[in-house]
Symmetry: C2
Subunit: 345 residues, 2 copies
């Protein structure tokens, strides 16, 4: 992993080799304190380490002030256009601000935000998006990645000129290849933690896949200190997908990993049913555990042996493996029962 | 993209810079001709370019013979252990064979398969999996990637010694990082097309994410000529996920791409509903079309302008963009209707 500077957001430190923090953003109106707090609780339960809220106006700010009293989670205020809202959010107890300096306006207003953050000892994120690249960095066609990086480096320099270094930076594009190119360029020149995301990845499976491919490529190269998956979906889903991306690369190890064959014309047991059942019951399990559910003798015993717990299907029955050794042969109907009791052990 | 040799599977050529072919495998018993054919039709409709069937025994072989008469799709016979089944599958009209030479047994049997493939002018895939690494290549702990590559290179050499070069190679692991490492090593030394997959990626979203991350990393490096996504799920889903992975990297451009914001406390229109609706109705559309559905003024106009068609939400209304220009302001309830009629145009 690339070593970046450490940045502390309340009780969570990102950068400098710390675990990649999965963050989330609420999708309720921040002015609606009840609904927003309820969503924050869900996000906390699902494992979100940092929670961001939009503060587009005074009503949202009033909501944020109340919400701040009710949670100890690190809260990030997302502010656009209005530097006075930024100052007020810092005053209300934000643990970090995300701004796009390009839409705050003249540097003097940006400086006021920086001074307030310095006084409150909180970091700022310079958060750029392909949809809002500042006018003076507007890209030539097909050059959005370079524009994002150049704009980010320009603002980093501006903040450093104000002697402010408590920074996180993001350069999200809706396009996976652009996002990858922008972060690769940025990571070579930027010592600050990078916040990764494919912005506006969209609905359904397509959004999950775009986020997985884009963040996967970068994280595998050691780029990225915190991630936010942006789906047109329940924010809890975004957190779950974030953790699954980290898990797929060995960057997060808790919980059950199911290795299960796709089934084919050789399959001897109902792998879909068994794997689906295990997936459902295993949601709450935190201990790392690799379970293999395999339908036949081709790859079955090999994978079952490699897992902590494995089943390799035969005709109407299955061989159960534990830590590489066969411990039992059971009838197909008893497979789930047996696996569950072994998981409980 | 890495230039590999070209290999022809019936009417589909992979390698040498051809588009990455998405393949599938049937999950029915191959002996059940009706069910298998029905699944093949579904896979053909979903865009599978190459279809693989398991032939574990004589009953499956008999099924395969009949199925072969009923489809023009390239069919790959998946054979393990029994070299005589391999010969019979070639005789029955297989367009390619996938074997793991390690479980065929002595080299003389492998040679018999090679001679039959040569006579029938069909390619062979050397298909290795982490669950069935041949005994003499069994890895030391945590060295499965290197073992997979070494075994593949050993068999490639064996086939070349028999003057057979019509090859495709795969080295799939259940582990994303192992798979990436194995294919990277292999691609440096292997001139043949590579068939990519994360084997036994498992059920649900986790399987989709593992496949997206693993194949995404490799494809973005130009590694991979054909892909198969292995999910414990409907095989049509595997094909859809395969195309979405390619699309996310710009390696497949047909159909609608939805850029939609994740919504937040600034969102002014029902982005979830609009994007979900568009996703459903756009499934059958082949023409490439980028549509942005954005909830507010921060990134909305910017992304809507970049898309072929875009909507940027305001209070109870939306601005519709076409090819970068605002063409209409419509009430929220009329957004879907307007977008659909513009898509039809």
């Amino acid at each position: 992993m690339n070593k970046t500077k450490k940045v502390k957001i309340r009780n969570v430190t990102i950068g400098g080799g710390n675990p990649v923090a999965v963050q989330a953003m609420t999708k309720t109106f921040t002015s609606d304190v009840q609904k927003t707090l309820a969503q924050i609780r869900q996000l906390e339960t699902s494992g979100a380490k940092i929670i961001r809220l939009a503060i587009p106006d005074k009503e949202a700010l009033a909501g944020f002030e109340k919400i701040r009293q009710k949670t100890k989670s690190p809260l990030v205020a997302d502010i656009h256009f209005d530097w006075r809202l930024a100052l007020a959010a810092i005053g209300a107890g934000a643990d970090k601000l995300r701004i796009n300096p390009g839409n705050i306006g003249d540097p003097e207003k940006v400086r006021r935000i920086i001074e307030a953050a310095r006084a409150a000892k909180i970091p700022l994120r310079i958060g750029l998006n392909s949809g809002s690249i500042p006018a003076n960095f507007q890209p030539a066609k097909h050059r959005r990645a370079a524009s994002l990086t150049q704009a980010a480096l320009f603002y980093i320099k501006m903040f450093e000129n104000f002697n402010f270094y408590d920074l996180v930076v993001s350069v999200k594009s809706t396009d996976v290849c652009e996002t990858v190119a922008a972060y690769r360029q940025l990571s070579k020149k930027c010592p600050y933690p990078l916040h990764l995301g494919i912005t506006e990845a969209g609905p359904g499976t397509a959004g999950i896949i775009k986020s997985s491919v884009g963040l996967g490529i970068l994280l595998h190269e050691g780029i990225g200190d915190t991630i936010r998956v942006s789906l047109t979906d329940d924010p809890v889903k975004e957190v779950e997908v974030g953790y699954q991306i980290l898990k797929s690369l060995g960057l997060y190890k808790k919980g059950i990993e199911i290795i299960s064959c796709p089934t084919c014309g050789r399959c001897q047991i109902d792998v879909v049913k068994i794997a689906g059942h295990l997936e459902t019951v295993s949601r709450g399990i935190i201990r790392p555990l690799k379970i293999a559910v395999m339908g036949c003798v081709v790859n079955g015993p090999g994978e079952a042996r490699e897992a902590d717990l494995g089943i390799a299907g035969g005709k109407g029955e299955g061989l159960i493996f534990k830590k590489g050794k066969i411990i039992k042969k059971v009838k197909e109907k008893d497979i789930i029962k047996n696996l569950l009791s072994l998981i409980k052990d």
